[in-house]
């Protein structure tokens, strides 16, 4: 169990539902108890369309206080696109509940290997006050995007200067961001996560897919939609 449990994301409560409702990741007005299992969330979900992910089932497990959901690979498939958040007729928000579940899983050391990719975001933010694609992502993107992209990345400083911007996107935060990250316990938590990843000794995780791909076509469209060439906008 993580010694630096973030009490605001995952407040300790008797049930998963209570934790989800109290967490600062979910809206104050969260309609979790009002869920009628209508499935509007799953019907609007991009992950449900292409994988076996189901926000409706996740909400059901939370309401049943079934803690096995924390170990489910499913919770790592959400896109955080908030389609379920906007479409829920009961003001529930599966997308923010999943964020709480992931934090609870991380507290127990579950799924930490999935964070390895992104860990340097914190250090980069502390140092430069800005964000960038993390290092491991750069390597992946370089492989995918090839010479044109990496050439642009190498050439970014003169390009920015030509546009009249500072050569590098570095912010003048007077060390305050670094200090904030120290004081909230961010770095301690990061260190704990790094140690768990090492313990698990996971290598090559980047090459594997996290979810079973159902080979769904993802095709929700009606036959007539496929022929639909789009209609001009009515603008104001």
């Amino acid at each position: 169990m993580m010694p630096y449990v973030n009490e605001f994301d995952t407040p300790e409560c008797k049930t998963l539902a209570e934790t989800a409702k109290k967490s600062i990741r979910t809206p104050e007005s969260l309609g979790l108890d009002r869920c009628i299992q209508c499935g509007a969330c799953t019907a609007s979900c991009p992950a449900a369309r292409f994988t076996d992910y189901s926000p409706r089932q996740i909400v059901k497990k939370v309401l049943e206080n079934d803690r096995s959901v924390l170990g489910s690979e499913m919770i790592w498939s959400c896109f955080y696109c908030y389609s379920c958040n906007v479409r829920c007729p009961r003001n529930n928000s599966p997308v923010t509940i999943v964020q709480v579940l992931r934090q609870m899983a991380i507290n127990e050391g579950i799924g930490v290997e999935k964070l390895a990719y992104f860990l340097e975001i914190g250090e980069y933010l502390a140092e430069n006050g800005a964000s960038k694609v993390p290092g491991a992502g750069i390597k992946n993107m370089e492989r995918d995007l090839g010479e044109r992209w990496i050439g642009m990345k190498r050439n970014l400083e003169p390009i920015r200067s030509e546009l009249g911007l500072s050569a590098r996107d570095v912010r003048n935060t007077h060390g305050e961001v670094q200090a904030i990250l120290e004081s909230t316990g961010y770095f301690e938590r990061e260190k704990w996560i790094k140690a768990r990843i090492q313990e698990k000794g996971i290598h090559g995780f980047l090459k594997t897919n996290c979810t079973e791909n159902k080979k769904n076509s993802g095709d929700f469209g009606f036959e007539s939609d496929r022929e639909y060439t789009g209609q001009q906008a009515l603008t104001v």
Binding site: I121, A130, G164, I180, G230
Partner: protein
């Protein structure tokens, strides 16, 4: 993310704001909101909220308390953090105790210092509010350009009650593009589907991520769209950088090019495609489009 991948979005926004008479100030003391860290699950809510509280103080201190974002995730993160700071006394006290302990008394946030509904805007809302002037300032007419809008999820699906228009079918980009003379496609299949980036999904479940993006690009291709206009650097990366990857991996071909709405408005006002819009950092080459429309 704008600064690292598409710096032309920033310069195009400045160019357009200057011509529209928007009174703005770019403060390099503002840090990244770290939405990228928050939504890849490595930042917890307390840190994200504290970073936001610092940025709010910076904005108030320089006399420009209305924060306008070029990225939809920054927009949502800031609004949510503001709401937490106003409603959750425990979190606000914790954040303030950190500031005091570090001697950052000027960063302390008092309840109600910012209003989540009126202090936060996305640049596209500013452009929409000046759409009449955009029409007047038009130096270059995009008549007949078939354009499609992708409104960013974190603009209209997170704090959906604050959206300008209907969150089930936002029309901000369409309205602005039409003012520049373009012919926006009102509805195309999967218009409200995410771009597919999904924060960690692009890196952890790349196959699914690209399938989502492909679904959207397929639909645009069927609708005969030649220009896709977006409002968020993450969507921009997903569409512009990954369109060639999808073409290669799935054996398909697409005819559309991509740009941010500010870049499109800047072009319409006569801005240089490279010195202002920064198209040299794009992955899908825009030369064909620029030649066809007579810009170069």
């Amino acid at each position: 993310m704008v600064g690292q991948e598409y710096p032309g979005v920033e310069t195009a926004t400045r160019y357009v704001f200057d011509r529209l008479g928007v009174d703005y100030y770019i403060n390099d003391e503002q840090s990244c909101c770290t939405g990228i860290g928050h939504y890849t699950d490595i930042f917890e809510g307390l840190t994200t909220t504290a970073i936001a509280a610092r940025n709010f103080a910076v904005a108030r201190r320089c006399g420009y308390p209305n924060i306008t974002c070029l990225c939809s995730t920054c927009y949502a993160i800031n609004k949510e953090a503001c709401e937490v700071l106003n409603t959750n006394d425990e979190v606000r006290e914790k954040v303030n105790s950190i500031f005091r302990e570090r001697g950052f008394d000027d960063l302390v946030y008092e309840k109600g210092d910012m209003n989540p509904r009126t202090n936060f805007y996305h640049a596209v809302e500013i452009l929409l509010s000046k759409v009449g002037k955009i029409r007047e300032e038009k130096k270059f007419d995009f008549s007949g350009v078939k354009a499609a809008a992708h409104h960013a999820c974190h603009y209209y699906k997170v704090k959906y009650l604050d959206v300008v228009g209907n969150p089930e079918n936002p029309q901000l980009i369409d309205t602005i593009a039409a003012a520049c003379g373009a012919a926006p496609v009102r509805w195309y299949e999967d218009r409200t589907l995410t771009c597919g980036m999904g924060f960690s999904q692009l890196h952890l479940n790349k196959n699914t991520s690209l399938q989502v993006t492909k679904t959207k690009l397929d639909s645009l291709q069927r609708a005969g769209v030649e220009l896709m206009i977006h409002m968020c650097p993450n969507c921009h990366i997903q569409y512009d950088r990954y369109q060639p990857v999808i073409e290669k991996e799935f054996g398909v071909e697409y005819d559309m090019v991509h740009m941010n709405i500010a870049q499109f408005v800047a072009l319409s006002m006569g801005a240089d495609p490279y010195k202002v819009c920064g198209f040299q950092t794009h992955s899908v080459p825009l030369e064909g489009f620029l030649e066809k429309t007579g810009i170069i």
